[in-house]
């Protein structure tokens, strides 16, 4: 990857007094999302306007509506809240949602990792098309994915008919939930690992080989530690996405209470019974989990960036 020096001339010409020699030091940065060089002073116009508009729109569309959830929860007593979020049916839905999400993310770490490796390291015909199609679960509406997977895995479907004689039922069971969540989480691991693999330096592998390491040792001691943070980030992203997923799961799950009912569906059921407070209480639990996951992902990404940079400089 080409390196280029952080900017140091132009802003300083505009403000001769800006910065000491230290800030003018040549900063070598990899061209990535991480480049933020601090402008010494606001030169460009439109700061107040754009910040004002951004904050207003953010408040109207995101902050006020989201705060409604927390406000609504306060209409419940503490005991009522605890009851709503720990009833046996909700607990069963948590187990299914988080269990299946965890498994699906693990499946994606293994196979997504292999897909990323194959796409970066090997050549084969149709590679560009395959590469583009990896993003299909991002682009394909979840309802479409849901009905397609259900049709494929039902007893007389293209795939289900071969599993049925083996006694494996996929559609309308928790296994179906796992399949749907694996589908929607597929791109995350591939897309986080791919750029890291592309950036790894082959010289390191050559050095390892020349020092007598076998290919497997090189993989375990050189390649794997480099991509590990990316694998972990991809895992967390796939897991986070899976816990909130609704559209692709409702068709294939069968939605039996206590067995194959995911938490988002249970929220919808509560809403349809006009139990707004109950639905909101469960939503709060899910939101808190999502925020914790978001925080974890941010920390993981910061760690991965640091590792990446430390490896390069």
């Amino acid at each position: 990857m080409p390196l280029y020096r952080g900017r140091q001339t132009a802003p300083c010409q505009l403000q001769p007094d800006a910065g000491t020699d230290k800030t003018k030091e040549v900063r070598v940065l990899t061209v990535s999302l991480a480049i933020v060089s601090k402008p010494p002073q606001r030169v460009l116009p439109g700061f107040r306007l754009s910040l004002g508009f951004t904050l207003l729109y953010l408040t109207l569309i995101v902050l006020i509506p989201l705060s409604a959830i927390f406000l609504k929860t306060f209409t419940l007593t503490w005991a009522g809240f605890v009851d709503a979020v720990t009833s046996p049916r909700v607990m069963a839905s948590y187990r299914l949602t988080f269990g299946a999400s965890l498994l699906a993310a693990l499946v994606n770490v293994v196979f997504g990792g292999i897909v990323a490796w194959v796409l970066v390291r090997y050549k084969f015909p149709g590679k560009r098309i395959v590469d583009a199609l990896v993003d299909l679960p991002f682009a394909l509406p979840t309802a479409v994915a849901g009905i397609a997977l259900t049709t494929l895995y039902s007893a007389n479907g293209w795939i289900g008919r071969y599993l049925e004689p083996l006694g494996i039922k996929v559609a309308f069971t928790p296994l179906g939930v796992l399949i749907a969540l694996t589908f929607i989480g597929l791109p995350f691991v591939v897309r986080t690992v791919q750029p890291v693999l592309e950036d790894t330096e082959r010289e390191l592998e050559e050095a390892a080989a020349s020092l007598g390491a076998s290919r497997l040792q090189t993989f375990a001691k050189v390649i794997f530690p480099t991509v590990f943070p990316a694998l972990l980030t991809g895992f967390a992203l796939a897991f986070a996405r899976a816990t909130g997923e609704y559209g692709s799961v409702v068709f294939i799950a069968g939605n039996m209470p206590m067995v194959s009912e995911i938490t988002p569906l249970f929220i919808v059921t509560k809403l349809e019974q006009y139990d707004y407070a109950g639905a909101t209480a469960i939503a709060v639990v899910m939101l808190v989990v999502s925020f914790l996951l978001l925080l974890t992902i941010n920390l993981l990404q910061a760690w991965a960036r640091q590792r990446g940079r430390a490896g390069k400089v």
Partner: protein, 312 residues
């Protein structure tokens, strides 16, 4: 890319032609044995076939199973047609709104330093980490009959929930970060020297934006817009909660797919679904094209930068 594999070594797996101009050598020490490579490619293909290719093919196959006439009739059926129109209308409102926001947010974050920037970035990402169902729920809590603004809306005879405005709002919420997320890293990597130069030469702020910034970010902008649009047209969970499922009135295409499917009108459901699948494929094609352009632009930008900033 340094991973150049000799064509001969891969012949047993898949025929490959080595592009002219690239050296066809393989540093054997950093290459796996042929059988390992073949196995890995096979596993990757099997996984992708099972989870991507087969479901995609199934959508078109099931939709066209009873022939072209039935397919076309299913799409032009009045309820399906009104769902298509509502989906287009929703995207037509939601995407431009988030486009304007995305540009404003990216300008603020990429061009200026201020306190609380990281918090702002996190807040912009927030809708991505909220379950679609919860994204719909928040509008029920605000505008539903028992909601905070419910009684007032009812008194003034304004319908938001179970009507088009609710669908648009839920869509705006779930597609909120798309454009901003694409533009922020792009504009940060470009810096603001070109804008500063334009200002020094006497251009006004708007003029600078139109003639300097916009041409620089146009591919990134388009990238964000097509992703935003794909999600806006395909959103299911959030819209399902706020729509009320009134046939011919508040059903978007994904909701229409659900209704047809639950009525065991499988061909109809897949015919309508194939529209969304086609949209997804077009989106991916444009996305790949833009990625190629962006890569090109970024490399050119870096080359120009390196030339202009030779160490003296």
């Amino acid at each position: 890319m340094s991973a150049i594999i000799s064509a001969a070594a891969l012949v047993n797996v898949t025929p490959v032609s080595v592009p002219r101009g690239e050296p066809a050598y393989a540093p054997a020490a950093t290459l796996e044995p042929v059988w390992v490579r073949a196995l890995l490619i096979l596993i990757a293909f099997a996984f992708l076939t099972l989870f991507l290719f087969v479901p995609l093919i199934a959508v078109f196959y099931e939709g066209l199973r009873k022939g072209w006439d039935v397919y076309v009739a299913a799409i032009f059926e009045p309820d399906a047609w009104s769902a298509i129109k509502l989906t287009l209308l929703t995207a037509l409102i939601a995407v431009p709104l988030n486009l304007v926001f995305g540009v404003a947010a990216a300008w603020t974050i990429a061009k200026f330093e201020f306190r609380g920037k990281n918090i702002l970035l996190t807040l912009i990402d927030l809708p991505f980490s909220v379950s679609p169902v919860i994204s719909g729920l928040i509008y029920v809590l605000l505008f539903g009959l028992q909601g905070y603004f419910g009684p007032w809306l009812r008194a003034h005879d304004i319908k938001i929930l179970f009507a088009v405005p609710g669908i648009v709002l839920a869509t705006v919420f779930v597609t909120f970060p798309f454009v901003a997320r694409e533009l922020i890293p792009l504009m940060q990597s470009q810096g603001s020297e070109e804008e500063e130069a334009a200002l020094v030469l006497g251009a006004s702020g708007w003029k600078t934006f139109w003639h300097v910034t916009l041409p620089n970010i146009k591919w990134g902008l388009l990238y964000g817009v097509i992703l935003c649009n794909a999600r806006a047209m395909g959103e299911f969970g959030a819209v399902s909660v706020v729509s009320g499922h009134i046939r011919g009135e508040t059903n978007t295409i994904p909701l229409q797919v659900e209704i047809l499917y639950n009525e065991f009108n499988i061909v109809g459901a897949f015919a309508v679904a194939s529209l969304l699948a086609s949209l997804a494929l077009v989106t991916l094609a444009i996305k790949s094209f833009i990625e190629w352009r962006l890569h090109h632009q970024l490399t050119a930008h870096q080359a120009a930068y390196a030339l202009n900033h030779q160490p003296s």
